[in-house]
Symmetry: D4
Subunit: 248 residues, 8 copies
């Protein structure tokens, strides 16, 4: 239910067509819907401009499917992250437009593609192994109608690969840098451009990478200003924030 | 063996019906029973008012079943936590009233349901993925005859969901807050109510949640007074303590 | 040296007024200036749009003063962070306009105040103890001509304090949230607004806050999307990034 | 301002004695008072039944004194924790009844002593070095009119010292256990009594105690149910929660 | 090869029966035997009084079997730890006396049982789940001809279980305490007896036990003197040291 | 009060010379003495064979002095660890025999030197910087009448220094190895001798020694069996345990 | 493309045989080749003297095979690390000379064996379980035409095994020491020889080895100078650096 | 005592000028000298080609001075690290050539300057604050007669500063990279050159740099091969190893 629907409801109450009790129930649900195991934040679209996103880990495929259907029936598009084949099977009955991206581990339903932004987000990876996280960022940003430019495998071990592609990064409104191991790419890019950098540490690496801790700490301690950081492997979060900034 | 049984035994000794040696053996077992791999704390019911609870991890299903049968034969009700299907199969021959809750991972036998308390415990989760831990808390509290009120998926990402349900939390005698990720819900609820909050960090999350460490540290550092914390994923502990407080 | 100066130099070469050797030396210095203990990044203004900022820790006051004077003579304004009284004394001979902010621990010289931006950055603290870090963010953002709105001591222990001031936060183009202890404020604000949030964990707290680790982890694990994080106590970094975003 | 004051104000508005604008300002302040560097939570007394407590670390003595005076003038009693001699000097001009407890590091003003509760809180330390933290818990609990029983230096290295004093602990409604090093006392007491235990790890110890981490982890992993934990050295928090439980 | 064999060899050289080159090769092997992937410490029996023990993790079953056979052929008895069914199958062809203990995960060959020591080692567990680690300690100590007394499941949650069995612990020459979770049992026993305690933290627990870290830190910080600690789950090490002490 | 004193008391009661009430008070104190801030474990001498040792950190010099005087008056010798000049001044009025060892940071009073043991404890350091911790071990062991042999600065960087002195280590009944940095000395000695090794990690080192963590972990993971470990810098604990073993 | 090929290309342009556009494309690819998911660093051979090495983890076997074929077609030899059977199957169609080393987990293609260096690298392991990591170092060093000498299982638990083989280590130009657990071997060897030591901590161990952290910290804190360290289990890195040094 | 002195001694014995007992004492001291608190490794010069270096932390100035004098009298040059003004005063009486470098915190005595190597070591810092650690490396390398080239403050925040100076780095035989914060400089240089890189993480930084942990982990996880790492702030170790390599 969006603001238009709310206005219609209130007018219907004014005209006596909708009883007070029914309207109260509708408005109550307008705020949040209690499914027992989940309380869906219906007000979110209005409050922050975007619908809820379904984080699939720790939910059963049945739960995901029911939440998705409820939201879909409320008029919302659907983005489910950390999804697998089983989640996909649960959602795909809702709308034939459903798309499963197995690299990004996302399931999406968009009723109607909107024109993407003119400005774009650069999503840059240090290595091939970082692509799944980067792809989650890309899918998220694109779901919210942002244009995305992908630049892969330009880590600092061969820095000229980055320098060759710097123009495409400089032209972006905001850049997402996805890197594991020592995560140095975020600092290097941060020192070369004048736009905000969202750094995503990944769990790529072994030994003293401690599941992404090395990249996380490196990015937090970036000697280049202009770099802020999201959780390890949090491609979704990076894509979401980059989208907020790109659309300012 | 409860206090009544002890009195009966001593009277039997007094009357010469029970030889001293037999009585000594009975009283010795009254304190604890040695099964070789386990020393059952028979005195516990008398000392702290509750029977022992069987923590299943690290025990074989056979061991759990034997401990359960011994305790059952001593007159105790049974609560086994971190149980699985195999544990359930081992216990279910003891009494047809056995219940296996696969979400909470508990197996329980209660001979006789008692009337639950008038006051109640609110068990609140931040997200759907926290429900298994919360359910362990609920089952534990209910096993010890407490009334429980479940409120799910009201994390701070959409704080109005919490505010809408605040009355039910305020009316509780004690509240259990179950949250992973950044665990902020405990602080927020702690700042809004005047009753004790038992916070349960969960291992829900990824990357820098480090298996629940982020929520644990956040809850320990709650800026709201009135919040105390149990181990990560320790629904049992939270339900137990909340029960102690609820029954004061 | 800015682009205009470079053009003048080249014209002077073209006209034969400046010998090639002298011009090469000037251009070389245009890129970076070697002071022995420091290599000043003269190209930075042109590359990322802002001059270098002097981080004082680990530098002697003499080194800071020499770097500042060199940069000042190159035409740059001066921002020195983590400065103390002694640093201030070293710099204040350069220009009487120097300002020392002992709360933010900054020393600044701006030759000419520019009109600040119309849009503004909200800088919000959870508690009074977080103000020094927040003030470093404010001074930084203001140094780069951003308008800043300060909102202090609205942590989640009394969440209505935040809700009362939410309009001023919602109207900001970007919000900096500064919080120690459990750092929950970042998630709560992230869930309430539709603009980017830059979260700054602080070392405020004790015991299991582990010098800001608790707030850092909490903010990285924020269940609300739209939150990215900088280093513990890194007010400068937050103010800098927020400025980049505010000026997009 | 308490509920009575609010009613008076509204009646004054009703009678036309107080202009709407003045009343609105009063009610606004009834919610929170903005001192610039602090936003005082005036509603707290009403919301959770207790006034705000002033945590002094990170605040200047002047800030503490101003906050204390404002709260005092609003009718509140004063409890300032982590206070030192300088804070004490700042507050003592407010009311001659001010008390500085240098062991607990607290400054308190109570206008009128109330009769303490009949039930009591046992505050137990493992060693002499844990007393400052325990004393903070005691002062806090007593400030909120709870009766407290102190039992010191009964750690598990000589467990008979504890067993000799067990009756006084068993008779308490709730027990606070304060211990550093390996923190085993919390588990031992938790296994012996049937009431809630609030465990406070302290930073007493050296080497692999890592500033209290060893005791914190031990207490979180207590094999005895009925134990919940607060932050390292958080005597205030423990005294506060124990008071909440004692007054149920 | 023991000292007797060495003497025989040298006498054979003296008598001219063994050529110098052959003797040198024998003596060289007397020090260590190079199998390519392993260098067997033949001198160990003579140097520290015990043969090498085979730690199976990270070795293939074939490697274990070859090492075992070589040592067996040298006259040594065999103790292989962290062994599984596959390792057992590889070794059992060597001597029909081989014993596989699946709880302790040990494979042993003793040609001839020696009379165990008169004094004994008490091996005490806090809970049933600690038994596999304790059993590794028992098998190790018994392999080296020590008498062992097993006392299981007497953790501090029901401390009377321990007190009831204290006499058997006090009579031991040295005590091994095996405990996970908060590991408090080591401190409690350390405070009650006057003999050395070897504490073995186990990985039993969950959440903030961090794989045994909580018990490890607790035991290292024991407030009772007389407690020293081995690695997490290192039953072998504890049994070995306890044996050294018991045989003094 | 020792067993003789107890017998005398009971005989005095039997003869009617001591009233029951007085005797009860004496026996009660025989168990433990409550000084308010400390509960002295008078029974300890009888239970574990040694008097209590006073750990000075976290106690005021006044508290230490009072505890020492009380214990001294009960007939006990005095060992105070982590003592400083101020503690020494507080204790030295008790008995002119008091000795302050500023390297070991100990204060001791022994009324009568006993003949030390025939067997001895080797206390070995890796470097000169480890000597203060080693000296605490030596003083402790000597206080309890053990003979000690000191061998300093034989770390593995020049392993022949150790091999030259190995005979004196092999002849000891038990060896204490004190080492910081990588703590390798414990493993090397453990592999060379057939007696128990007590390893003491020290905080000597910098950077990634993390206050002794590197040596602690190394010693816990010793590939040589026969090594057990005490807390970082815990010379007292090592000397105490080594004394227990030496006297078996 | 090597320098010769570049010269040929430029001569061809000079002679007008190659159009400018084609040459630019060739040179561009000379710098790096964009495969979409990977950006191959063609310049690397020229820049650092060695071709790129393919790290297989996080890449699909298809991606590895395509990268390998592209590099092979450019004239490069192939070294793929962390490879498995599936990767091997993908690569083996490229050239029948392909070799899969399942212990080292490497796949290599060398068109032409070069004569190895006269000087050699000693690769020494503490235990049999460390061999897979050591073998990765050996294969890497041999791939780059270094002679390697393998010495296995000479850890400090039986230090004479090392001393017996010291001559072979002393004669090496550089030594790689591979050890898990407490990693003491690196310090011991570092103290005995006058050549650089590259230390490789391994994840061999359990409990408080924390996945190799204990060996890593020990090696970083080596009291013997001359030891530098690579990541846990990073055999490749050690072999690579040792090769660089050996070829100086 | 060097080899020449040993030969002289033995000849003197042969000629009957030196009694056997005196010669034995001399040779014994040739191996190591026992000063009580220190065992000086006299054999070290012969074994590894360099004299012992005195690490001053944890030693009293008197101990340092005595060790230095003893070594000096044996003919050794002196390098004392982590020295302060007080250490300097203790040593300067030994030889007027003594030099105190307060930035590097070193005290050195070289009787005779040798011609430095033709090849050189590049010592590169990321920032001005890293210079003290770098200077310790430079002094160490120069003490052992290596030529050193210093390049300061070329961190990745302005990477062109590095690229401008790359030729001087490429021409070095080995490069030491000294960096705090995120330590990215080591990876970037490692990717650009074909010689070994010794990386030194520094404790420069704050917050989540955790005393140099961030730079340490980043350097260990370098995506560029050819980088090995020493302890945090270990300039001495880096200079020493670089010297070993430079002199190969």
């Amino acid at each position: 239910m969006d603001m238009q629907a709310l206005q219609n409801l209130l007018e219907s109450v004014q005209k006596g067509k909708t009883p007070i009790q029914d309207a109260m129930e509708s408005i109550r649900e307008f705020l949040s819907k209690d499914l027992g195991y989940a309380t869906i934040d219906n007000q979110r679209q209005m409050r922050v401009g975007y619908p809820e996103v379904i984080y699939c880990e720790g939910k059963t495929p049945q739960q995901v499917a029911e939440i998705a259907r409820y939201m879909y029936d409320q008029g919302s598009d659907i983005l489910a992250t950390r999804a697998n084949q089983e989640v996909y099977r649960g959602i795909k009955t809702i709308d034939p437009k459903v798309i499963f991206n197995p690299v990004a581990r996302t399931v999406t339903i968009k009723r109607k593609e909107k024109k993407p932004t003119d400005t774009y987000i650069a999503v840059v990876t240090a290595g091939t192994s970082d692509i799944p996280v980067a792809e989650e960022a890309c899918v998220t940003a694109e779901f919210f109608d942002n244009r995305v430019e992908r630049i892969n495998d330009v880590g600092v071990a061969g820095i000229h690969r980055l320098l060759d592609r710097l123009d495409r990064i400089k032209a972006a409104k905001v850049t997402v840098v996805v890197a594991g191991m020592e995560g140095a790419l975020a600092s290097v890019i941060g020192g070369l451009i004048s736009k905000p950098v969202i750094a995503v540490p990944t769990s790529v690496g072994y030994g003293a990478s401690f599941g992404g801790l090395s990249a996380l700490l490196a990015m937090l301690n970036s000697c280049a200003a202009g770099v802020s950081v999201v959780n390890i492997d949090n491609g979704f979060g990076a894509g979401y924030i980059a989208g907020l900034i790109n659309k300012l």
